[in-house]
């Protein structure tokens, strides 16, 4: 009799255990918005499929400029992918999809225990979780050519004034001090944000402390004018207003420029452009010697509310949000992890991680403070580059944006 009870208990335990559920199977369609994340996505999927061999994955990488349009069309046609990337709460797209019931509520379905509450903000709308973030911090950094710095006897600047002082030295030596693609508004942003953090850290910290800040604040005006001033002094080389982001990275990779100030996700591109380039990274310090770092959480994938394969979709999003999934993601991308359990061996990534304070992105402030029905991001994107080509003054540009804020 006792044996029978034990057998019954064992059956019950097995029946209630996760092993009792059938392994997820079937096909998943996953959309990514840019080829920059293609390799990392493929690496995570390969590891996922080792764990769940019965799930086949059709990983589709779209082009960023058409991404949301394609997604909207796919939803309209009832053919949206099972999982798809969005930029989380950094733009209005994911919150709008959530409000329209297009996203699966993952609050009780996703194990996001490896992420901090701060990181989860990008995945949370009205208290509900609608995506998995990633463990990478999308930061900005100054990448510098160590050979040029050694040749000119320069060292990593300790203050903003020291940083500014090395620019004419590099120019006089015949190198482009900072390779800058001012044709692309995003390149302008990834350059501007570290300059603002170095010259107006108190402005950003006011926002971080919960205050509303003016987009056309004098400190913002001053930082942007400083960039224009450097352009007029010839520190970006000739014709920088006709250079795009990849051109700027290429000039640095080829050793024509001593520095490039850009997103940390470009490390893989620089390595691919020139594997022999001897380079490192640092952050522009403030006048007081504080080293700020502009970094933002990055979002991953949401699950389609009407996915035909919920079990496999949830298995994937949970694997993606796991330590194993994020270790693969972060190390394939060569980016800075926001989780201490994930270690990276890349020396440039380690250089980027040397900072005193992590602060907010100015673009995030611009979008977060937008007035109802206004799209300042769109106006910013259209006019930012004109600031450097003389099409609009810094003041007019920032005033125009301020008018669209709350």
């Amino acid at each position: 009799m006792k044996k029978a009870w034990i057998a019954l208990a064992l059956v019950l335990v097995l029946a209630l255990s996760p092993f009792a559920y059938a392994e997820p199977s079937g096909k998943l369609v996953i959309w990514e918005h840019t080829s920059q994340f293609e390799e990392a996505g493929k690496a995570v999927i390969a590891a996922f499929q080792e764990k769940y061999p019965d799930v086949s994955v059709d990983f589709q990488v779209k082009t960023s400029d058409q991404y949301y349009n394609l997604l909207a069309t796919a939803f309209q046609a009832g053919e949206a992918p099972d999982l798809f990337w969005t930029n989380g709460t950094a733009t209005t797209n994911m919150p709008a999809y959530a409000q329209q019931g297009l996203l699966m509520d993952l609050t009780d379905k996703l194990d996001h225990s490896i992420f901090s509450d701060t990181t989860m903000k990008i995945a949370t709308v009205d208290g509900k979780v609608y995506s998995s973030p990633t463990a990478s911090v999308d930061g900005r950094a100054v990448f510098y050519n160590k050979d040029i710095f050694n040749e000119l006897g320069l060292s990593i600047p300790k203050t903003f004034e020291e940083f500014e002082a090395i620019l004419p030295i590099i120019k006089d030596a015949g190198y482009i001090p900072v390779s800058f693609g001012a044709m692309d508004p995003w390149e302008c942003l990834f350059f501007f944000e570290p300059v603002l953090a170095a010259t107006g850290l108190d402005y950003l910290e006011e926002y971080v402390a919960g205050n509303t800040v003016a987009i056309n604040d004098e400190r913002v005006v001053s930082a942007m004018k400083k960039m224009v001033e450097w352009g007029e002094a010839g520190y970006y080389g000739v014709g920088y207003t006709g250079v795009d982001g990849s051109g700027a990275i290429l000039a640095f990779s080829k050793g024509e420029a001593a520095m490039v100030i850009d997103g940390t996700w470009n490390i893989a591109t620089i390595n691919a452009n020139n594997p022999d380039l001897n380079y490192g990274a640092f952050q522009i310090p403030t006048s007081d010697g504080v080293v700020p770092f502009v970094g933002t959480s990055a979002n991953g994938f949401s699950v389609n509310a009407t996915t035909a394969n919920e079990e496999a979709a949830l298995a994937f999003v949970n694997f993606f949000a796991s330590l194993e999934g994020q270790s693969i993601w972060v190390n394939t991308l060569n980016v800075i992890p926001c989780i201490s359990e994930i270690e990276t061996a890349d020396p440039v990534v380690n250089d980027v991680s040397k900072f005193d304070i992590m602060t907010e992105s100015w673009y995030n402030i611009l979008v977060a403070q937008a007035a109802e029905g206004e799209a300042p991001g769109q106006v910013w994107e259209e006019d930012q580059a004109k600031v450097f080509s003389g099409g609009i003054s810094v003041e007019d540009f920032l005033n125009e944006l301020q008018e669209m804020e709350k």
Partner: protein, 298 residues
Amino acid sequence: MKKNRAYLGFITPGFILYTLFMIIPIIFAMYYSFFEWNGIGPMKFVGFANFQKLLGGGRMSRIFFNALGNNIKYLICVLLIITPLQIFFAYILFIRIRGHRYIQFMLFLPYVISTSIVGFFALMVFHPNIGLLNSILEKLGFSKSAWLGNPDLSFKLFVIVVIWACIGNGMMIFNANMKEIDESILEASIIDGCNEHQKFFYVVFPQLQSSISTVITLSTIYALTMFDIPFMLGGVQGGVNNSIDFVNMVFYRYAFGGTYFGETSLGFGSSISVTMFIIILVISLITRIILRKREMRF
């Protein structure tokens, strides 16, 4: 007498397809232009607000009319520069000057290459950092130029690229038209003592009216719907200070979102497409009337 309706069988498939893929989308675009809608979710009726935003002054109007101005500027270049050049080269091929087969090959080659490749070639020439022109200038000891990064130069460079890329198309139409001219008329003009100049202006050119009408009509529509080459050269923002921004690019930016994370606005985008549809219709009709009068005069 029984009416022959066999033609209905021939036109019906085309009519159905044309209605399905052209007429109905135009009607839908007109409908959407009265709504605020991002492509999914609820549509909010806003009446003429999208048109008011586009045409009623303010920042958006400046963007739109700057782009429309570029379309018109390019159209003028078509009429005054590109079409005369096409006729000139067609005539050079027609009179078979030495090396005409090589010239024909070189002029027609860019036309068979996709515009994306044409744009890429142009960037390889004009890129300030890695472009061919600046490399040559640097080697010769001259200072580099921003080329497409210079708002005063970018439109001119764009026209040069278009001339290089598109001259072959109209040129072949004119050349085909010239080959249809009766040989006896040309011989008679030579016997009557016409020189090459007179032969062209008094014999050949008057007989090109049908091809001029065709090329100008097609070029006008192309000019007003310009997108691919400026997009490749200047990006979605229409180059430095919107110097090579065209209406189709404005439509693209607002209807489909920005370069990375922009918001889609299909309602407003539809109002741009409807406005442009009306403008193209009116300009095409005017062009047609002028060209028909001209054809009748000759």
